[in-house]
Amino acid sequence: MLDIRGLSKRFGYGKGEVTALHEVSFSIAEGEFFTLLGPSGCGKTTLLRLIAGFIGPSGGSLVLDGKDIAAMPPNQRPVNTVFQSYALFPHMTVGQNVAFALEAQGRPKSEIDPAVEKMLTLVQLLHLKNRKSSELSGGQQQRVALARALVAKPRILLLDEPLSALDMKLRKDMQIELKRLQRETGLTFIFVTHDQEEALTMSDRIAVMSGGRVQQIATPRELYDRPANRFVAGFIGESNFLSGKATGGVVEVAGGRIALPDATDGAVTLMIRPEHVVLSANAPDALQLEATIAQLVFFGTDTHVHLTLSDGEKLVARVQNALHGGLSLNEGDRITISLPDKALRVVKDEEIAA
């Protein structure tokens, strides 16, 4: 329903020119919870502002339901935004804030009043309808901002790091609430965050961005299991990277050898998640390596085992803590570890760049 084709954005002129977005292309389907994920400054807000129409693109097109909306002013686009700072109108009550979109559209009062009540009920704030918006807590303001953006039934709801100002506990609650709202309304959400955990738990699909480019678009599972490059692997979850040398589909790493058909000849980087590292020699089809335990870090549910390989490279393994007894490992132990070939990924070193 939304097709973004070769969209780019430059700010400034001459020497001060900054390219915030480099020819980004992807499509978003009806009813999808789509997340833009990336570190600060990677162009997430810029992309969102382009979709909302607050800024115009330097190139490319933006097609919504078959119509190019790139030149349409924001007040005509059927797209609404939940701002990072909420941007509630401080001189209006909660009810007036929520009614604003419908009033601006010139809808009759008989239609506005029930719609506002319905939205406020949905976000559980009906009892605060006549409160000034400046007299609310952060979480309440957040929900007013949501109700205000949803009331006119936009085709797409844009959310720019909406939870970043909330504390941990509230944040978790709002994640669940947002997901519920999206399911109940069946709306398409484009959600911006720099928090990979938030992205993984909430999204149908995630676009990982870096330096104004999309590095990979995939479901959370795919992103985690098959990161397209080292940047994605490092940004999503925790990863170990090992450098090795491939010849004819066999990779040599830190004194061990394993057959990996994906590997092209030459220097390669292998990635493995800490929870996939096996702390024994007896796993089938695995790369076996000698390692020294440098440190054990207790994390409650699991323990992180910091290992040093024979060539000095470092590796972290994660083992779940069993109900009875501790780990039979000690710092300084020399052990053989196994890295199953199914868990090893050959990742491209370079991210997508100019």
Binding site: A52, F54, P73, P74, N75, Q76, V79, N80, T81, F83, S85, A87, F89, P90, H91, F100, A101, E103, A104, Q105, R148, A149, A152
Partner: protein
């Protein structure tokens, strides 16, 4: 100990100095108001309490004419200058930076820098010629001059208010289907209102108080409150002047108080 930052109000003697300043500032005004209730005619010679000089002032046609002129002048000049100032403030904060924006800023605030007497002398030459050519001697010249020097006083609080305003509010309004005009009416203007009001009040008081330019530009027989008081002060010093001055003081106090209440309520 919690934080112990440097606080000037805690220095020894601060209270004494502050009180002294207040006394020096307000004692003369208190004396003025006090003597306006003097029954005697001669200034400074107390002969018992009376409101008769207020009565006399209210029957004094010259004073009433001057007061009326002052009110018309201050109202018109402050309304027009507030309108100009609002538009100028919107133009310098709400549009993308444009060439000459700095120059506009300087031009707008120029009347604050130029000595008033210089402006008065410059104006009196031009205005004199226009008066001769057209034969028009009404309040128009004073209104035009007052509007000019009131603009920066109206502009500064309005601009300050605009600059302190969250730009994302207007973006949010546009996002929520509001046209530019609807955004201005429902979001920008209500949030700007306290600034506009203080700008207007400030301009009003500045116009009401102006002596030099008014004195230079007024036509024969024309008076504003300050020029009338100045003339009276030179000719006959009676307690009536104290009564009139007290009335002027009361008006200023009312305006300042009104502005304070209005802006406080809005926030």
């Amino acid at each position: 100990m919690s934080k112990r930052s440097f606080d000037v109000t805690r220095l020894p003697g601060t209270a004494v100095i502050a009180m002294t300043c207040f006394v020096i500032l307000y004692i003369p005004m208190a004396i003025l108001v006090g003597y306006s209730f003097n029954a005697g005619k001669v200034i400074g010679n107390w002969e018992g309490a009376s409101v008769k000089w207020y009565g006399a002032a209210l029957q004094n046609q010259a004073f009433l004419n001057a007061a009326l002129n002052s009110l018309i002048l201050a109202t018109t000049a402050s309304v027009i200058s507030t309108l100009f100032a609002t538009m100028a403030a919107l133009a310098t904060t709400r549009t993308e930076k444009f060439r000459g924006e700095g120059a506009i800023h300087i031009i707008l605030n120029q009347p604050l820098m130029v000595p008033e007497i210089v402006l008065a002398i410059a104006l009196v030459i031009i205005v004199g010629q226009i008066k001769q050519m057209t034969g028009y001697t009404g309040l128009g010249f004073l209104i035009a001059a007052h509007t000019t020097f009131c603009i920066p006083f109206a502009y500064l609080p309005i601009r300050a208010r605009l600059e302190g305003m969250d730009l994302s509010l207007e973006t949010a309004a546009a996002d929520l289907y509001a046209s530019r005009f609807y955004t201005f009416r429902r979001v920008t203007l209500p949030l700007l209102a306290p600034g506009i009001l203080s700008g207007f009040m400030l301009a009003f008081v500045v116009s009401l108080d102006d002596l030099i330019i008014s004195d230079f530009l007024k036509s024969p027989g024309q008076d504003t409150l300050p020029t009338y008081l100045m003339g009276e002060l030179k000719r006959n010093l009676t307690s009536e002047i104290y009564a009139i001055s007290s009335l002027l003081l009361l008006l200023s106090v009312l305006i300042v108080a009104g502005s304070w209440v209005a802006t406080r309520k809005k926030d």
